[in-house]
């Protein structure tokens, strides 16, 4: 087996091309020696974080971060604004229950992710065990913060999502992640519970992910998934 030490160094610095990144990820999946090497290299890279001048974060950032973990009560999705103004230091931040604090986020994807947190928190309280489910054909697989996916043995899969409506000009897109390839599996707008039959079949070992994409969807993910299922 040819190891990928050089690429691991670039991977730890997040500097690889997509082709090299794919090569590393594929190799790491099957090579314990290189995974160990990656752990060492990532730790060295992380040490660089301590070399920068230490700045005190703005005090309000602590409140924004801790709001992520606050117990929440789900508001009707239809009443929730798709995106609110970014949270910026010094900006008045009126509070009406939980929603403004949770929704005052900086980017639309963040707002959506935090909106998803509502569901995640509620589902965590109600169904912690099921949220730990691994991918299993015929069984519900948790998509933390989004909902569940049910994959049948014939590969047909249905996504049950509970998300706020996507912001103007945006849409949610489901993906079947097979190895390092993301296969587009359908778009939906959110706003209440959505049942979406995936346009891509899901095989054992696949993962399901959801991203926020420009209206109409994308051929490849352009944002970090707001949720990814586990696989076996």
């Amino acid at each position: 087996m040819e190891h990928v030490d050089e690429l691991i160094a670039g991977h730890a610095l997040r500097a690889l091309s997509s082709e090299d990144e794919e090569r590393v990820v594929v190799h790491l999946a099957e090579c314990e020696r290189c995974r160990r090497r990656l752990r060492e290299t990532e730790a060295v890279a992380a040490s660089l974080a301590y070399s920068v001048p230490q700045m005190a974060p703005p005090p309000e950032l602590r409140s924004r971060v801790l709001a992520i973990a606050e117990p929440v009560v789900a508001a009707p999705a239809a009443e929730a604004p798709a995106v609110e103004a970014p949270a910026r230091p010094g900006r008045p931040r009126p509070r009406h229950g939980w929603w403004p604090r949770v929704s005052l986020v900086a980017v639309p994807a963040m707002a959506l992710a935090l909106g998803a947190m509502v569901v995640w928190n509620v589902s965590l309280r109600n169904d912690l065990d099921s949220s730990r489910d691994d991918f299993a054909h015929g069984a519900a697989v948790a998509l933390p913060g989004v909902g569940n996916v049910v994959a049948q043995t014939d590969g047909n899969a249905t996504l049950f999502a509970h998300l706020r409506r996507a912001p103007a000009g945006k849409t949610y897109e489901a993906w079947v992640i097979r190895g390092t390839v993301a296969l587009p599996a359908g778009v939906f707008e959110g706003g209440g519970t959505v049942e979406l039959e995936l346009t891509q079949s899901a095989k054992p070992g696949d993962k399901i992910a959801v991203t926020v994409e420009p209206k109409g969807g994308s051929r490849k993910p352009t944002t970090t998934p707001i949720a990814t299922s586990r696989s076996v």
Partner: protein, 194 residues
């Protein structure tokens, strides 16, 4: 809570413990913000990066595999990746990333771990200073400025193969330089036990 290791804290966060989450923020929020600020060069964007990072921590802590390394490495690696992604999206990368932080950003002493961070910063800066210039350059351009290896090849006017081998050599040299100072990052980046 005070006596818990980072692994212990993260395990509690994975079970939805808000106090542990707050503790984790108090320990690493400053380092994460400082790193993000160094990369994105904008206070608001840096705060967004930190918020995104801690959202990921809150949602993913229960899947953290402790055999993969220190939680601090995980947290700072996520912060770095999100900051680099942000700087690429925002095209805010600066031409001279080797400079120190902008003078307008007044350093303030972190509330916690000030002494530890001070020592660590000094040692890591020393290790970086010991690297040959080409090694230090490739690390700083990639890590702090977010350049891809293809972009580095163009900027440095060298073949991409040279960038790859130089990056590999540079990271090994940094590891060795840290080791020469008695630092083993894989074991030591856990401020709660220092």
């Amino acid at each position: 809570m005070e006596h818990l290791s980072d692994h212990g804290l993260l395990a509690l966060v994975g079970r939805g413990d808000r106090e542990a989450f707050a503790r984790l923020y108090d320990m690493y929020g400053g380092a994460a913000y400082s790193l993000a600020l160094r990369i994105v060069r904008d206070r608001d964007l840096a705060a967004d990066v930190v918020q995104n990072t801690f959202l990921a921590i809150w949602t993913q802590a229960r899947t953290f595999d402790s055999s993969r390394g220190q939680p601090s490495t995980w947290i700072l690696t996520m912060t770095h990746h999100k900051a680099v992604d942000m700087v690429r999206r925002e095209e805010r990368r600066r031409a001279e990333p080797l400079d120190d932080a902008p003078a307008a950003l007044d350093p303030e002493p972190p509330v916690e771990h000030q002494a530890w961070l001070g020592v660590a910063r000094e040692q890591i800066a020393t290790a970086l200073a010991r690297l040959p210039d080409p090694h230090r350059e490739v690390i700083e351009l990639a890590y702090f400025a977010g350049y891809t290896q293809s972009e580095l090849a163009e900027r440095l006017a060298v073949p991409i193969g040279t960038v790859k081998s130089r990056t590999f050599a540079a990271m090994n040299a940094l590891r060795d330089a840290l080791a020469a100072l008695g630092m083993r990052p894989e074991d030591e980046w856990n401020t709660s036990t220092s």
